[in-house]
């Protein structure tokens, strides 16, 4: 056998698994083939653009590799160079793939996960349903409500005359699923509004 790096091995064996699944054949030897022969399908990730990422679930911080062809995520696997997970992924971690794409249960085709939200929506008071709205409208309406509530409830000074510049009428929850580069503007924006009910998942 030629000298196969761990990374190559993972790629090859991953491809072998995919190939045997598609063909409905058990071909355990394929993963160890030194050279691809005519019968061996090309690697699924051949020609794919690879980018590294870190798992979005628990806090261990496992590395993963995304393989993208024509703008579509076609493979997701553990990063063998990563010192925490060394290429391994748990069942949840590997299923991050489904955040983007799923296999259509009817056709077996790779399709975007239809459960993703793709458009801003609004539910009016007392309404029984959502309606799709534009981003411009949504942001303008939210901003109006922030200002209305803030203006109506803002406390510049407390009863002792201390400057407090706050509103207790707006709350904000969340942040543990955001990037740091978003967490920083989140707390900054909320505190600039005067928000003090500012919390995220760590309190639970």
């Amino acid at each position: 056998m030629r000298d196969v790096s761990r990374r190559d091995f993972l790629k090859i064996s991953g491809a072998a698994f995919a190939a045997s699944s598609v063909a409905g054949l058990i071909r355990p030897d394929v993963g160890f083939a030194a050279e691809a022969d005519a019968e061996t399908p090309a690697l699924r990730i051949k020609g794919a653009t690879e980018t590294t990422t870190i798992c979005c679930y628990c806090s261990v911080g496992c590395g993963a590799i995304c393989s993208v062809v024509d703008g579509t995520l076609i493979n997701f696997e553990g990063d063998p160079d990563h010192p925490v997970n060394n290429g391994g992924m748990c069942s949840k971690g590997i299923s991050q793939f489904n955040v983007e794409n799923i296999y259509d249960p009817e056709t077996g085709d790779l399709i975007p996960n239809p459960r993703r939200l793709t458009t801003p929506r609004y539910r009016a008071p007392g309404s029984l349903e959502w309606k799709d709205v534009s981003w411009e409208w949504a942001i303008a309406e939210i901003a109006k409500r922030v200002k209305e509530v803030r203006d109506a409830t803002f406390e510049e000074k407390n009863e002792n005359g201390v400057t407090v510049n706050r509103t207790t009428a707006i709350g904000s929850l969340g942040g543990a699923g955001l990037d740091n580069e978003e967490c920083h503007p989140l707390s900054k924006l909320m505190r600039s509004f005067g928000v003090v009910y500012l919390e995220h998942q760590a309190r639970l």
Binding site: C58, G61, K92, Q96, V146, D151, H184, L198
Partner: protein, 851 residues
């Protein structure tokens, strides 16, 4: 975490309490198993025989809610059997410090308790104090010259107390003797009565853990929400700190206190002050009572010694980042524009009470789903109906954004027509569709690259914030309104060349820069208190500091060198990977690492696992990690007065010898705290029963932590009605409230339904078979799930009585491909005394077969 995941491989004993890494942090198990393969012992205590327990060397069942009884017993065992590390305890803890002679503890109460109502109240902590012998002044001619320099807003400089100590550790008022006395009540018999543990199991575990008090042994403790979600959760963690400090296990390779946290960036979200009580970098949120002005803030918050003596630099640099040119010396760097809290709790549960009362009228949810993830879900639903408006940014539909929908069932449901809340559902990008960093539990800040475009109109949360900022600012500029200054003056330079939100530009502000020229700061040591530096959070200083490239791959957080090397002068090989990403603070992998070497000699406590070691020949420290102390001082060129350079053009430093290098310099007293006056509920941990418990407190007549947050909305129940202890837990197939995992076809198929896990004994007693449909109920709700009857849970004998415990995963909700009962409907609004985290891990229920 004090240490990192790969560092677990250095441990001789790995103890897991209140966590289940094999299930919930699977990749961490690799490092545990590597350690085990090298001879380490893996110890697990848990109410259930978990997947982690299944691969352990020692396992003992422990009743939910009895952790301090167990840990108190462990502390007592270590002290009684002289297993503690004397050199460490004497030099690196406050063991020898003398405490106010009026401090006492009597039948469940520390001195200073003031009852407010029903046995609950608060503490006056006046007697929880060190004895001192006068004070000394800051030397503002040398080290503290910055504090009185031009351009620094003046504040009353701290006085440095002279502490009274007894190095013989014999004074009855020294911390060591008080500690011994306090925990002497935690005898093995008491511990086993309260926890339900077998005496042999307890002593075996205590012996194995206690063996790591030797200098050449390392013991680590890994925990998760099983320890924190209690009315005394913070004190449980304090108890971990105390036993680990006694054993000399903090600051060493293979040691530490390691929280296996739940979300990929929950660490970062804490770092960024998304909590009411802290602003960025763990500075206290300005409080109207304590910090009415900037001068008052700096006078109150600036530590008299140690690294927190630099706090004015961190705060003022953050204010400069927030308000840019509008933050000036004249306006106290816009300090007043930060909102101030009163001396009350604005945490998660109080927020929902404020929604219930109508105080909170509008709510943002950024990827958070409280109607599955928070306690007392039916109460939370009733509270949310009072909102005027709700904004939810998420990837997929959540129970929270859809709470009003006609087909959603709740305990006491209100018709959709009657719910007046306006709801905005905003489609957010996934982590694969944008770029930025997240911070793991080991404080590694790692960059993630964009892989694909987002579906439809989904945008990143940063862009949502950016657009909201612009629109609110525009409204205030056009129309005026209540005190617009903090909004219209906010600095928001987070745009790319297309005008979109840019995580790279945000990163620069987070790292910090010099105001005059915008140059990124190398690290946080050059932050200033005169407005000349801007930095959003001091601890991120150095994570994105390359001025020559905007490419994240060229930045410290983007580094991917996985060689197991030394930092300087050592041999490496300690699984610290100093050139992989960036670990805050200062790329340090093991915090408090000074304690890994002896106080006097600076020699490594364990030469095999040297983190830092004084090298007298070199006159500096050899280091396999970045030292957590001022290990060297820059040498100035006598001619120029500037940093001296050697022949190769490298800056010249003098190493600081061991006697000038204290260990725990984040504490003003420069040692760690076995006795901690900072806690709200006692300087030592004490066992109390959970807010809902089937037994009386065997250790005192005080049943529940007397300063716990017990909210009326809990509608507490008694054990005669609800005799079963219930705990919640997680499964590898799902993540938190399941918004993405219950919408993954693979995971929905792998783990489709919720269940209630119970012992064979309880099942037999109640005539329940595996798979039976059950109702699980208490005053707060009724949920339905199938029975999972296993041998993994056994009945406990608690204070002489048989007690049953059941457990239920909490991932499920009403939305998604895989739907199921929301266990959090049953959890009370009872919170930890210090941090207000709900008591999700020990509450009472009863069960019946569903007819």
């Amino acid at each position: 975490m004090t240490n990192g995941f790969s560092d677990f491989q250095n441990a001789d004993v790995i103890f897991v309490l209140g966590g289940n890494p094999a299930e919930n942090h699977p990749a961490s198990m690799r490092h545990i198993m590597e350690a085990r393969a090298n001879g380490a012992k893996f110890v697990v205590a848990d109410p259930r025989y978990t997947r982690s327990a299944a691969v352990s060397d020692y396992y003992a069942p422990i009743r939910s809610g009895a952790d301090i009884a167990f840990l108190g017993g462990l502390i007592n065992y270590i002290l009684e059997n002289n297993l503690y590390n004397e050199e460490y305890v004497l030099n690196y803890t406050n063991a020898q410090y003398l405490i106010n002679p009026e401090f006492d503890f009597d039948d469940g109460y520390f001195t200073g308790f003031e009852e407010v109502a029903n046995g609950q109240g608060k503490y006056d902590k006046a007697t929880w104090s060190y004895q001192t012998d006068g004070t000394t002044e800051w030397d503002t001619s040398a080290g503290y010259a910055w504090a009185v320099a031009d351009g620094v807003p003046p504040f009353d400089l701290p006085k440095v107390p002279v502490y009274k100590k007894d190095p013989t550790l014999k004074d009855p008022n020294c911390v060591f003797q008080l500690l011994k006395k306090h925990f002497s009540r935690y005898t093995t018999d008491v511990v086993c009565d309260v926890t339900g543990m077998d005496k042999e199991d307890f002593e075996e575990i205590a012996k194995v853990i206690g063996s790591t008090g030797a200098d050449d042994k390392a013991g680590t403790i890994l925990y998760a929400m099983g320890l924190t979600q209690h009315t005394n959760g913070s004190q449980i963690i304090r108890a971990l700190a105390i036993y680990q400090l006694l054993l000399g296990n903090i600051g060493i390779a293979g040691g530490g206190i390691n929280a296996l946290r739940g979300e990929s960036n929950v660490q970062g979200a804490c770092d960024w002050g998304i909590l009411y009580h802290v602003i960025n970098g763990y500075l206290a949120t300005p409080n109207a009572d304590n910090h009415p002005t900037l001068a008052a803030y700096n006078a109150k918050e600036t530590a008299h010694s140690g690294y927190w003596s630099n706090k004015p630099k961190f705060l003022i640099s953050q204010l400069k980042e927030y308000w840019g040119e509008a933050a000036t010396l004249e306006n106290d760097f816009a300090y007043d524009w930060l909102p101030k809290i009163e001396s009350k709790n604005y945490g998660y549960m109080p927020m929902f009470e404020a929604m219930s009362s109508g105080e909170v009228k509008g709510l943002f949810c950024w990827g958070q789903n409280p109607l599955v993830g928070g306690p007392n879900v039916n109460f939370a639903y009733q509270a949310m109906k009072n909102l005027d408006w709700l904004v939810c940014a998420d990837l997929m539909e959540t129970d929270t954004m859809c709470f009003w929908e006609p087909d959603m069932e709740w305990g006491e449901k209100t018709a959709a027509e009657e719910i007046q809340t306006e709801v905005f559902s905003l489609p957010a990008m996934s982590h694969l569709e944008k770029q930025g960093t997240i911070t793991n539990s080991g404080r590694w800040i790692q960059w993630r690259y964009k892989a694909v475009d987002s579906p439809g109109e989904a945008i990143d949360d940063g862009e949502i914030m950016s657009r909201l900022y612009e629109e609110v600012k525009r409204l205030y500029e056009d129309e005026g309104g209540a005190y617009p200054d903090p909004i219209v003056n906010l600095s928001w330079p987070y745009y790319d060349e297309h005008g979109h939100f840019s995580s790279v530009e945000s990163a620069k502000s987070m790292n910090g820069y010099t105001v005059a020229d915008g140059k990124l700061l190398a690290n946080f040591t050059t932050l200033a208190a005169d407005g000349s530096t801007a930095c959003a959070a001091w601890i991120y200083g150095g994570y994105f500091n390359n001025n020559d490239s905007d490419n994240p791959a060229d930045q410290p957080c983007g580094r991917r060198d996985n060689e197991d090397v030394t930092v300087s002068g050592g041999s490496g090989g300690l699984k610290q990977y100093p050139n992989w990403s960036f670990s805050w603070p200062a790329n340090r992998r093991v915090v408090y690492n000074r304690a890994s070497s002896f106080a006097e000699s600076g020699k490594a406590r364990n030469p095999e696992r040297m983190l830092v070691e004084w090298n007298p020949d070199k006159g500096n420290w050899d280091r396999n990690d970045v030292p957590d102390f001022g290990f060297q001082t820059a040498v100035n060129d006598p001619e120029t007065g500037k940093q001296a350079m050697d022949a190769e053009g490298k800056p010249v430093f003098n190493g600081n010898p061991p006697e000038k290098c204290p260990s725990f310099f984040m504490n003003a007293e420069l040692v760690s705290r076995l006795f901690s006056p900072g806690m709200t509920d006692g300087p030592f941990p004490e066992h109390y029963e959970p807010a809902e418990s089937p037994t009386r407190n065997a250790l005192s007549s005080v049943q529940v932590n007397p300063v716990a947050m017990l909210l009326e909305s809990s509608d507490f129940g008694e054990s005669n009605e609800y005799p079963l202890i219930c705990t919640t837990y997680r499964l590898v197939e799902h993540w938190q409230t399941g918004v993405t995992t219950r919408n993954s076809p693979w995971l929905a198929e792998a783990m489709p339904h919720n269940f209630l896990e119970m012992s064979k004994e309880l099942a037999a007693e109640r005539g329940i078979d595996n798979g039976d449909h059950l109702e699980i109920f208490n005053n707060r709700g009724t949920v339905t799930a199938q029975a999972l009857v296993t041998g993994r849970i056994k009945p406990f004998t608690i204070n002489g009585k048989t007690v049953h415990q059941v457990g239920m995963p909490w991932h499920w909700g009403r939305k998604g491909l895989a739907k199921g009962a929301t266990a959090n409907e049953l959890v009370p609004n009872a919170g930890d005394a210090n941090v207000g985290i709900p008591e999700s891990k020990a509450f009472l229920v009863d069960i019946r077969k569903k007819g």
